[in-house]
C-alpha cells in the first residue's frame, strides 16, 4: 500500500480515498511520514497505518529505547520489508509517551512492482562486492535487499568489504553485479568546508546512510548544527518547546564538501569553542558534563529581509542569541542571524552571525554562564552586564586561542564582532578602547539601567588591561599587564570566577574580588596575575563598594533645544546612587544648577518620597537602597534659558547604624546645544 502523490500520508488518509492509494501503488514512490502532535488527525492516521504495517510484518521493530531526556517517552525504530526483503534505508521512528504517540518520521514504501528473484548467486554477489570495494568481503554473506534510488527501486545485494583502512558499504545489482551505491561505514567523518571569508575548515560530520550531517561525532558533547532553511515558524515552534527538532532539520551535505558557509562556520566554531574550554580550562562543555550544543542557522532567508518586520530583522537577521531554556529539554540553544546584504544598512554588508568566531563563542559562553554563575538576574542589573562581559571576554579568548592576532578578518582582536561586517567592526565593542564605540571604560561612566552590553565594556576593558597593560583613558591609571604570552593566566582567573565563585547576583565589585581570589588560587597571592587584575580593576574604577557613591552622566552633557519643564535648552542626565557595605535610607537630595561663572542659579531640595518617585529606572522605586545595590533615575534640567553651566546633586542618607551620610555627584558641565 502506498500513498504517493501527496507525499503526505495523512493528506491521503484525510481524503479517505483508499482507491487512490491503491491506484498509486504503481507509482512506486515513497511517502513522507512526518507526523507530530501539531497535527493530531494526521498523527492518528499515520499511527494507525504503522500499527497495521507492524501486524502485516511489513514493519519490524529493530530497537526500543527509553528517552534519556524526557521522562515517560519511548523511541521505537522499525525496518520496512517488502515480501520478506528489507528495504534499504526504509527505517521509520515512532516516539511515544504515556499518553500515546508523539511523533512519526520516515519514508514509507509500498508494495513494489519489482521482481525479487536475483540473477546472481550469493557467491557471485560476494565477489562483485569485494571487487567494487577493491578489497575483501567482510563478515556475513551478502544480503538481498530492495534499494530505493533516485531512479526507482532496485533489487540489490548488500555487503560490507574492507578497502585499505576503510570499510565500505556496497550495493550491487542483483542481476548484473554492477555497483549501485557505495559509501564508507566510518561513522567519524571529517569533511571540508569554506567559511564566510573563504577560509578552509574541517567539518566534523556524521555519515548517515551515505549522507553527511552536521552532528559532530568527534567531540564528547553533541554539537549539532541545524539549517532551518528560513522556516522561522518552525524555528520558533522548536525554540518554544512546542515542536521537537527532527533529524531532517540537521544540515546535510551529500559529498561532505560543505558549501554553506553559515553552517560551516557555526558548526566548526562551536566545536572549536568546546575544544577551547577543554584545553584551556579542562571543562567538558557548557555544563561540564558535555551538555549538547544545538546551533540553529538560517532562521530566515536573506532575500526576505525587505519584507521582514523590525522585530524579525533585529532578532533573526542582525543578531545572534542564546536561549537558556529553549528546546523540548529546556537546556538551551544558540541561534545565529542571517545578516543583511550590502546597503540594507547604508554602506555595510552584514555577514551571517556565525561568521565571527568570537561571536559564536560569545553566545556559547552564555551557555556556560547559564550553567554556572547563572548571571541572569534582573536584566539591567550589574549581573546582566557581567553576563555580557564574560561572553565578550571568553569570545575574545577563544579567538586568540585559535587565530593569530591582527586586524584582518579571521584574526583575533579585542574588538568583539569585528568580522560581522564589511567594512569590519561596525557592530563592534572595543575591549581595548571602549570609547571608540561610545561605550564606558570606567565605572563612573556606567549607566545603570542601560542595555547590559553597554556597561559590559567596563569589565572587558579590565580584562584587556590585565593582559595587555596600558592606561585607562578616564582614570589615567596605568596597568602592567601579564603580557599576551601569559594571557591564559587572566583567562583562567576570570573563567574560574565565572564558573566557580560568582553568584547569580554578582556585581562588578564582587567580580573584582572573585577574579582576584581566583588568580590567587591559581597563581599565588603575589603573582603577576593578581597584581595585573588588581591594577586593572583599579584603573576602571571598580572597587569594593564600602561607601555610598553617586554619579551623574553623561559627563560632560550636551544640551538640546528640546524644552524641559518649559525651559530650553535642556540636558538629560542619568543619576545613579550606589549603596556601599550598608543599606541606605535616602532622606534628602539636593540638585544644584550653576551658571558659567559657577554661581548657583537654582537649587531643588527633594525628600525621600520624591526619591522613590524618581529613582525607579533600575529597580523598584524606593528610598531604601540595599547594600551593594543601585538606584537610578533619568532627569532633565534646564538653566532658565542660559546656554551652559553645570549641575551637581547631593544626597543625604542614613546607614544601618543610623549614621547620617552625605555624598555628592561630580559636578557635570552642561554644554551648549550644537
Amino acid at each position: 500500500m502506498t500513498f504517493g502523490r501527496s507525499n503526505r500520508i495523512t493528506t491521503a488518509l484525510a481524503a479517505g480515498v483508499l482507491l487512490v492509494a491503491a491506484a498509486e501503488a504503481r507509482a512506486q514512490r515513497p511517502t513522507l511520514l512526518d507526523a507530530t502532535r501539531s497535527s493530531p488527525a494526521e498523527l492518528r492516521g499515520a499511527d494507525r497505518l504503522v500499527d497495521q504495517l507492524i501486524r502485516d510484518r511489513a514493519l519490524v521493530a529493530t530497537s526500543i529505547e527509553t528517552d534519556p531526556l524526557v521522562s515517560g517517552r519511548t523511541h521505537e525504530r522499525f525496518e520496512q520489508y517488502v515480501r520478506g526483503l528489507r528495504i534499504a534505508g526504509g527505517d521509520i521512528t515512532r516516539q511515544t509517551g504515556t499518553d500515546g504517540t508523539v511523533s512519526l518520521f520516515g519514508l514509507l514504501h509500498g508494495d513494489l512492482a519489482l521482481s525479487l528473484t536475483p540473477g546472481l548467486s550469493r557467491d557471485e554477489a560476494a565477489a562483485a562486492i569485494a571487487r567494487a570495494a577493491g578489497g575483501e568481503l567482510l563478515g556475513r554473506t551478502p544480503e538481498l535487499v530492495v534499494l530505493p534510488l533516485s531512479d526507482g527501486y532496485h533489487l540489490a545485494y548488500f555487503g560490507q568489504a574492507t578497502s585499505a583502512l576503510d570499510i565500505q558499504n556496497v550495493f550491487v545489482d542483483a542481476h548484473t553485479g554492477a555497483p549501485l551505491q557505495q559509501f564508507s561505514d566510518f561513522i567519524r567523518e571529517v569533511g571540508h568546508g569554506k567559511g564566510a571569508y573563504g577560509d578552509d575548515k574541517k567539518v566534523s560530520a556524521r555519515s548517515v546512510g551515505g549522507t553527511f550531517v552536521t552532528d559532530d561525532p568527534l567531540r564528547p558533547a553533541a554539537i549539532t548544527t541545524y539549517d532551518m532553511r528560513g522556516n522561522l515558524g518552525r524555528l520558533t515552534s522548536i525554540l518554544n518547546r512546542v515542536t521537537p527538532v527532527a533529524a531532517s532539520d540537521i544540515s546535510a551535505d551529500t559529498d561532505n564538501d560543505w558549501t554553506d558557509a553559515t553552517v560551516v562556520d557555526a558548526h566548526v566554531y562551536a566545536g572549536w569553542y568546546y575544544d577551547f574550554l577543554f584545553k584551556r580550562f579542562a571543562r567538558r562543555g557548557l555544563d561540564n558534563r558535555d551538555l549538547r550544543m544545538p546551533m540553529f542557522t538560517h532562521p530566515v532567508l536573506q532575500r526576505d529581509i525587505g519584507s521582514a518586520s523590525p522585530d524579525v530583522i533585529g532578532l533573526f537577521y542582525l543578531n545572534a542569541f542564546f536561549c537558556r531554556t529553549c528546546l523540548t529539554d529546556g537546556r538551551g540553544a544558540m541561534v545565529f542571524g542571517e545578516g543583511a546584504p550590502l546597503n540594507f544598512l547604508p554602506g555595510i554588508e552584514v555577514k551571517p552571525f556565525s561568521a565571527a568566531l568570537d561571536v559564536v563563542a560569545h553566545e556559547l559562553t552564555h551557555g556556560v554562564t547559564a550553567n554556572s554563575a547563572n548571571l541572569n538576574g534582573f536584566p539591567f542589573s550589574e549581573a546582566g552586564a557581567l553576563n555580557e562581559a564574560f561572553s565578550d571576554i571568553l569570545g575574545a579568548a577563544t579567538a586568540f586561542f585559535f587565530q593569530p592576532a591582527g586586524s584582518a578578518p579571521l584574526n583575533a582582536s579585542y574588538t568583539s564582532g569585528r568580522d560581522l561586517t564589511i567594512p569590519p567592526g561596525r557592530f563592534g565593542r572595543s575591549m581595548a578602547d571602549p570609547a571608540l564605540f561610545d561605550d564606558p571604560d570606567h565605572y563612573t561612566k556606567r549607566i545603570t539601567g542601560a542595555d547590559p552590553h553597554f556597561n559590559s565594556t567596563i569589565v572587558s576593558h579590565a580584562f584587556f588591561l590585565a593582559i595587555e597593560g596600558g592606561t585607562n583613558r578616564t582614570s589615567g591609571q596605568t596597568v602592567t599587564g601579564v603580557g599576551a604570552a601569559n594571557r591564559d593566566q587572566i583567562e583562567k582567573a576570570f573563567f574560574r570566577a565565572l564558573t566557580s565563585l560568582l553568584p547569580s547576583s554578582a556585581t562588578f565589585a564582587l567580580t573584582r574580588t572573585a577574579t582576584i581570589q581566583a588568580a590567587q588560587d591559581l597563581f599565588g597571592a603575589g603573582s603577576a596575575a593578581v597584581r595585573a587584575i588588581t591594577q586593572a580593576w583599579d584603573a576602571v574604577g571598580v572597587q569594593p563598594r564600602t561607601t555610598p557613591t553617586a554619579t551623574l552622566l553623561p559627563n560632560p552633557a550636551q544640551g538640546t533645544t528640546q524644552p524641559c519643564g518649559g525651559t530650553s535648552p535642556s540636558w538629560t542626565l542619568g543619576v545613579t546612587v550606589s549603596a556601599g557595605a550598608s543599606n541606605l535610607r535616602v532622606t534628602q537630595w539636593v540638585a544644584e544648577l550653576f551658571d558659567r561663572s559657577n554661581r548657583v542659579i537654582g537649587r531643588g531640595t527633594l525628600n525621600a518620597v520624591d526619591f522613590s518617585t524618581f529613582f525607579n529606572q533600575c529597580g523598584p522605586g524606593s528610598a531604601t537602597i540595599v547594600a551593594q545595590a543601585d538606584a537610578c533615575a533619568a532627569i532633565c534640567v534646564g538653566l532658565f534659558g542660559q546656554q551652559s553651566g553645570s549641575a551637581q546633586i547631593t544626597f543625604t542618607a542614613l546607614d544601618d547604624g543610623g549614621a547620617n551620610l552625605t555624598f555628592v555627584t561630580p559636578r557635570v558641565p552642561l554644554l551648549a546645544p550644537r
Binding site: 585499505a164 583502512l165 567519524r188 571529517v190 571540508h192 574541517k202 575544544d275
Partner: protein, 244 residues
C-alpha cells in the same frame, strides 16, 4: 645503499682477459650449466614518501626500507661460440621480507596544518627480485680441472615490493597527539635493464660435473610508482657446474 659503477667492472674484466688467455690452454667444452645458491651480504635500502589524504588533508609519510642480507638461487648456462668465449644467460631470484620504519605526519582530524608526528615499524614487507642476466663469458682454464669464468653483460631485473601507502593511528579526543598503530602496504612491481658481471671459479670433479664458487655483481635502477629501487647487488655463492 651499495653503488657500483659499470666502468669499474668492465675494467676488471678487460684486465683479466688477455693475460689469462695467453697463459692458459683453450677451453674445449661446448657449453656449461650452473646451478647454485648465493648470499647477498648487504641489502638494499631506500626511502619512499607518500601523501595519502587523511581527514581531508595530505599526510606526509616517510618510510625507510631495508631488505637486509638475503639468500637466493640461480640457474644459468651458455654455449661456447669462439675459442674460450661463450654466450649464456642466468636467472636469479630471491624473496625476502624486510622491515620498514615509518616516520609520518598525520593530519589532525579537526584542524588544518596541525599534524601529529608518529613513528613506528611497518612490519614485514615483501621484496622479491627476479633477474635475467645475459652473459658474455670468457673461460680461463687455469689448471686441468680448475676453470675461471669471467663474464658480464646486460641484465633485466624485475622487482616486486610492498610499499607503505598509509598508516593507521590510535587517537582520542582532543586528538592533539596520536600513536602509530599499523601501516597498510600495497604490492608494486617494476622492471628495468641493468648490468651484471661475475667471476666463477669451477673445479671439475668428473668429466662433466664440478663445483664452483662465484662472486657476482648486478645492478638495475628499477622504478616503482614514486620511488626508484636499486635492485641487484653483490652476491657470493656457489653450486654445481656442468660441462658438455
Amino acid at each position: 645503499m651499495m653503488r657500483f659503477h659499470p666502468s669499474v667492472v668492465v675494467l676488471i674484466l678487460l684486465a683479466g682477459f688477455p693475460a689469462a688467455a695467453r697463459a692458459q690452454p683453450s677451453w674445449r667444452d661446448r657449453g656449461y650449466v650452473a646451478i647454485g645458491g648465493w648470499y647477498q651480504p648487504v641489502g638494499t635500502t631506500f626511502t619512499d614518501e607518500v601523501h595519502p589524504i587523511i581527514d581531508v588533508e595530505a599526510a606526509d609519510i616517510d618510510t625507510e626500507y631495508d631488505t637486509g642480507s638475503a639468500g637466493g638461487f640461480d640457474v644459468g648456462g651458455g654455449v661456447r661460440v669462439w675459442r674460450n668465449l661463450a654466450i649464456g644467460a642466468q636467472v636469479s631470484r630471491f624473496s625476502k621480507s624486510g622491515s620498514a620504519s615509518v616516520d609520518a605526519r598525520i593530519p589532525h582530524p579537526l584542524f588544518f596544518r596541525q599534524p601529529r608526528t608518529v613513528t613506528g615499524d611497518a612490519g614485514t614487507l615483501a621484496h622479491d627480485e627476479t633477474a635475467v642476466h645475459v652473459r658474455l663469458l670468457w673461460m680461463v682454464p687455469i689448471r686441468e680441472r680448475l676453470q675461471l669464468g669471467l663474464s658480464g653483460g646486460p641484465s633485466w631485473i624485475d622487482v616486486k615490493q610492498d610499499l607503505v601507502t598509509t598508516v593507521a593511528v590510535t587517537q582520542t579526543y582532543p586528538f592533539d597527539s596520536a600513536t602509530f598503530a599499523s601501516a597498510t602496504s600495497a604490492r608494486q612491481t617494476g622492471s628495468h635493464a641493468g648490468f651484471n658481471a661475475a667471476a666463477d671459479l669451477s673445479y671439475i670433479l668428473r668429466p662433466h660435473v664440478g663445483v664452483g664458487l662465484e662472486v657476482s655483481v648486478s645492478r638495475a635502477r628499477v622504478p616503482l610508482d614514486n620511488v626508484t629501487v636499486d635492485a641487484g647487488g653483490l652476491h657470493v655463492g656457489g653450486g654445481l657446474r656442468f660441462r658438455f
